[in-house]
């Protein structure tokens, strides 16, 4: 009900075409599996105002120029992580990227790199979701804890250790920025490592051992060559490259020290 009202409102408050003076060309990489053998570029002339995001540009196309254009979005305020796409070759959240910054030259929008394209700007994210599940992204208590024991207590210092890594919104921009993931999708990758590290570093958690086997493995952290672009494009300043590289050190320590103190996830 409310949504409908808002949509109505938006249409009405939209300035008439003649009032908008600026128009920007938006090139969109289209892929319609039922008709295209491979993705093709299509250009749309989009009238815009200075406050319009790239996402709003796409919504304009869908509402007024071509209703068949597919893309994911939800919150419009850089917290849901749905609207990641390549904007002029750079992995970006389209809701916090603005059309005015590409005027008058225009921009090219493509689906997030390194993922298979499902349709237009929609990618297949099954691999990411499966990896996310595999690292047990939740607190695993050190010992079973009864409800009667009350809540966990954590000092601000204990929280600071992982807080940065907990800001991840699963937008997958870091995967689109990681050539190593593009070259070998079995690599665990930046974002998942940031989350894995976030739980390992949590003082309430006791699941490190269960998570480290993947870190040490052939698909683990040593596939990373410290390109660093993942951290560069992260909209939440998670610094996933740091999580990956801290775990290289952790993994190397375990590699050699497992013989000294045979503990941990050594196999």
């Amino acid at each position: 009900m409310e949504l409908q009202a808002r949509r109505q409102n938006r249409k009405e408050s939209r300035p008439a075409m003649s009032e908008i003076e600026k128009t920007i060309p938006i090139e969109v990489l289209r892929y319609r599996p039922e008709q295209d053998t491979e993705p093709v570029l299509q250009t749309f002339q989009v009238p815009f105002t200075d406050d319009m995001s790239v996402l709003q540009g796409l919504q304009y196309i869908k509402d007024y120029l071509d209703g068949s254009l597919s893309f994911r979005w939800s919150c419009r305020m850089a917290i849901c992580g749905s609207c990641g796409m390549m904007v002029n070759g750079k992995p970006s959240l389209s809701c916090k990227t603005f059309l005015r910054d590409y005027y008058p030259g225009g921009l090219r929008i493509e689906a997030l790199a390194h993922f298979p394209i499902e349709r237009d700007l929609v990618i297949v994210m099954d691999d990411f979701i499966e990896k996310l599940e595999s690292i047990k992204p939740y607190i695993i208590p050190k010992t079973p804890r009864a409800l009667s024991e009350g809540e966990y207590l954590q000092t601000p210092e204990e929280r600071d250790v992982y807080e940065q890594f907990s800001s991840c919104i699963n937008c997958m921009l870091c995967y689109a920025a990681c050539p190593q993931y593009g070259l070998n999708s079995k690599f665990v990758g930046p974002g998942i490592m940031a989350l894995l590290h976030r739980y390992n570093m949590d003082s309430r958690d006791g699941g490190t051992e269960q998570r480290m086997e993947l870190v040490h493995s052939e698909d683990g952290v040593f596939n990373c060559t410290a390109v660093g672009y993942c951290s560069e494009v992260c909209p939440k300043h998670v610094d996933p490259a740091n999580a990956v590289n801290i775990n290289k050190t952790e993994s190397a320590k375990d590699y050699f020290l497992r013989f000294v103190a045979p503990k941990g996830a050594a196999k």
């Binding site: 499966e130 070259l183 993947l214 493995s217 052939e218 040593f222 060559t225 993994s251 190397a252 196999k267």
Partner: protein, 122 residues
């Protein structure tokens, strides 16, 4: 996704890469300047600085010999590992040949340098 959970042996090569990278970042530029530019051109240092007598004396001491050995071998372990990954980056994937060249050369160089330095020390 079916993860290959076989433990990676990369830590060995990664540590050698890191040690060599750090050493070359700290000392590389000055070493190249000294041996490749300053001494041949007679800048700052006397051309005599790398004379046979001086170098013999330097390599004769275990510290000098150790320094040279560490520089030569770690620089190569660093470079070999990096080149190995660069080959993967350009689409030449970790084959036996790539491994043999990228890690074989540093290994052979480490042994050859050790042998030569032992000859100098003794």
């Amino acid at each position: 996704m079916s993860a290959n959970l076989k433990r990676s042996n990369a830590p060995i090569f990664w540590l050698l890469f890191g040690a060599g990278g750090m050493l070359s970042a700290l000392l590389g530029p000055m070493l190249v300047f000294i041996t490749g530019i300053a001494i041949p051109l007679g800048l700052i240092l006397s051309p005599d600085a790398m004379s046979y007598t001086h170098m013999q004396a330097f390599a004769h001491h275990w510290i000098g010999a150790g320094f040279i050995w560490v520089i030569v071998s770690l620089f190569l372990w660093h470079a070999g590992h990096r080149i190995f990954h660069s080959l993967h980056d350009v689409g030449i994937h970790a084959g036996t040949a790539a491994k043999l060249i990228c890690y074989g050369i540093p290994l052979v160089a480490t042994i050859v340098a050790a042998r030569a330095l032992i000859t100098s020390v003794v």
